[in-house]
């Protein structure tokens, strides 16, 4: 009979964290910022159909980086949570905070109890009645939640991108300036990203009940180049 090797819990956690971080670092990053009409999310994503950013509810959006199948499953679970909650209570009772907490619980649970942690980092954004009440919840692979005020970066090279974004960010910038600023922060000094490399969406107060809207195709071309 063979005895299992003893592995210190610190080592187990460290290994899992490293595994998840490696998976996430392989993917492309995304940034979310406040802008004049709401919240803007810009992701580096060459696919037109496999989205990283999507709508959860009237004023709540979701974005994920890392393994697509894993964050997509979380996205659908988020929509289910929001729609069942809005149906059982009222549309006004659906908020980002409770959803962020559920995601954090789930990610934390998987991180400590399952064989393999989820290789994802996710963002739950909520458009508030005013800019001060906009919410950006950044949830890491181990369930850590950070409530960011004006901007957040997810994915590989997040720290470098965040440093660039700190220098570029302007309070109350227009959609055009914000998209261009975010695209250049994602690209870094050595490359440039065009409309084909980007996925862009906004939660805008001008969109009526459902604040989520994709900025794509000709509109994105115009925002980037005109």
């Amino acid at each position: 009979m063979t005895m299992p090797y003893y592995v210190a819990p610190e080592q187990v956690m460290k290994d899992r964290a490293e595994y998840a971080q490696k998976g996430i670092a392989r993917g492309r990053a995304l940034v979310a910022v406040n802008y004049a009409d709401g919240i803007l999310v810009v992701a580096e994503n060459p696919s037109r159909t496999l989205h990283k950013i999507s709508e959860i509810y009237d004023r709540v959006a979701f974005a994920g980086v890392g393994k697509y199948n894993e964050f997509d499953q979380l996205r659908v679970a988020g929509i289910r949570h929001a729609d069942t909650k809005g149906y059982a209570y009222s549309r006004d009772d659906v908020d980002a905070r409770s959803l962020a907490n559920l995601y954090a619980q789930h990610l934390g649970q998987v991180f400590t109890h399952e064989m393999k942690p989820l290789e994802v980092e996710i963002l739950v954004a909520e458009l508030g009645p005013s800019e001060q009440e906009n919410r950006l919840y950044h949830i890491a692979y181990d369930g850590t939640v950070v409530d960011e005020q004006r901007s957040t970066v997810l994915g590989g090279e997040a720290e470098a991108i965040a440093r660039r974004l700190d220098q570029t960010y302007v309070e109350g910038w227009s959609l055009r300036d914000a998209v261009r600023g975010c695209a250049s922060c994602l690209a870094g000094p050595d490359r440039s990203l065009g409309a084909d490399d980007l996925e862009v969406a906004v939660l805008s107060s001008g969109n009526g009940r459902r604040a989520f809207r994709r900025v794509d195709g000709e509109e994105l071309e115009a925002v980037l180049h005109d």
């Binding site: 159909t49 989205h51 999507s54 709508e55 959860i56 499953q73 979380l74 659908v76 679970a77 988020g78 929509i79 289910r80 949570h81 729609d83 069942t84 909650k85 809005g86 149906y87 059982a88 409770s98 559920l102 995601y103 619980q105 789930h106 459902r210």
Partner: protein, 274 residues
């Protein structure tokens, strides 16, 4: 409330009604046994007709409980999503609940799948909901919706009607249902012609509801004293638009003026008033 994750074989996919049955079984109404002797609220007359570039949908504002008026300003015409509208007649409680479920279902599908259902897909979804309601209908709680919208594939407005068994039928030009539906439908039939303009179609819908209210006690007419007017909405390639109450009030004013004029004219000539 929790995060709903399912093993791959049991995933309800984009079906919200199915999801609800699994996670909130309490939300599903149990079927009553024995015929209902309760006096429940009824929503009455609704109508829809096609015009050159879309559809008009209209409904009066009255709800009745037996012979008394239960509500003077109930809403029976709703946006199902951006490009379709649904109107209801029958037992008001289950009907409004069905509309809420239908609206949530369409949006849920759109978000989960990242694509909108075709108009026909939406019409079939509603048929399933009406069919699921059949046991309640057998107990006297029938719900009969009317569905219309803009079909992007065919580039035209389309109207769908239902019966309590969930049967789904497409109407070519117009339909009306509910207690005053017969009068409303006859009015539209007499005034309808191919390629109506949007404005004429709205006027015809208003006239249909006026005539229905004239003949049917359960249908409410325009109420200038309280400022309550029928709900009229159009759906075309620009989406669902509800006509503002002020505009409906103006149109009714013009209509009543013309009608009163016609009656006076008929009187002075000694003919039968129409």
């Amino acid at each position: 409330m929790s995060l709903y994750l399912f093993p791959s074989g049991e995933d309800p996919g984009a079906n919200f009604a199915d999801l609800l049955r699994r996670v909130q079984p309490g939300a599903v109404v149990p079927t009553p046994t024995g015929a209902t002797a309760l006096e429940i609220r009824h929503a009455t007359t609704i109508a829809a007709l096609r015009y050159s570039s879309g559809v008009v949908m209209a409904g009066d504002r009255r709800a009745t409980e037996g012979v008394s008026i239960a509500h003077r300003s109930i809403e029976k015409v709703f946006a199902a999503d951006r490009y379709s509208a649904v109107a209801i007649a029958g037992a008001a409680g289950p009907a409004i609940e069905m509309v809420r479920l239908f609206q949530t279902q369409l949006e849920h599908y759109e978000k989960v799948e990242g694509a909108t259902l075709s108009l026909e897909g939406k019409a079939n979804q509603l048929a399933q909901m009406v069919r699921a309601h059949l046991p309640m209908a057998m107990q006297g709680l029938a719900v009969v919706p009317l569905f219309a919208g803009w079909d992007w594939i065919r580039s035209s407005g389309r109207i769908f009607t239902y019966d309590v068994t969930g049967g789904r039928y497409e109407e070519t030009d117009f339909h009306a249902t509910g207690s005053g539906g017969r009068d409303a439908k006859t009015t539209i039939k007499l005034g309808y012609r191919e390629g109506l303009s949007r404005v004429d179609a709205i006027d015809l819908a208003l006239e249909a509801l006026f005539q229905a209210a004239d003949e049917d006690a359960a249908t409410g007419g325009p109420d200038p004293v309280r400022g309550i007017y029928p709900i009229v909405a159009t759906v075309d390639s620009t989406g669902f638009t509800r006509i503002p109450d002020e505009e409906i009030a103006d149109r009714f004013g013009v209509f009543l003026e013309r009608r009163a004029g016609a009656l006076r004219g008929a009187d002075s000539e000694g003919g039968e008033p129409t």
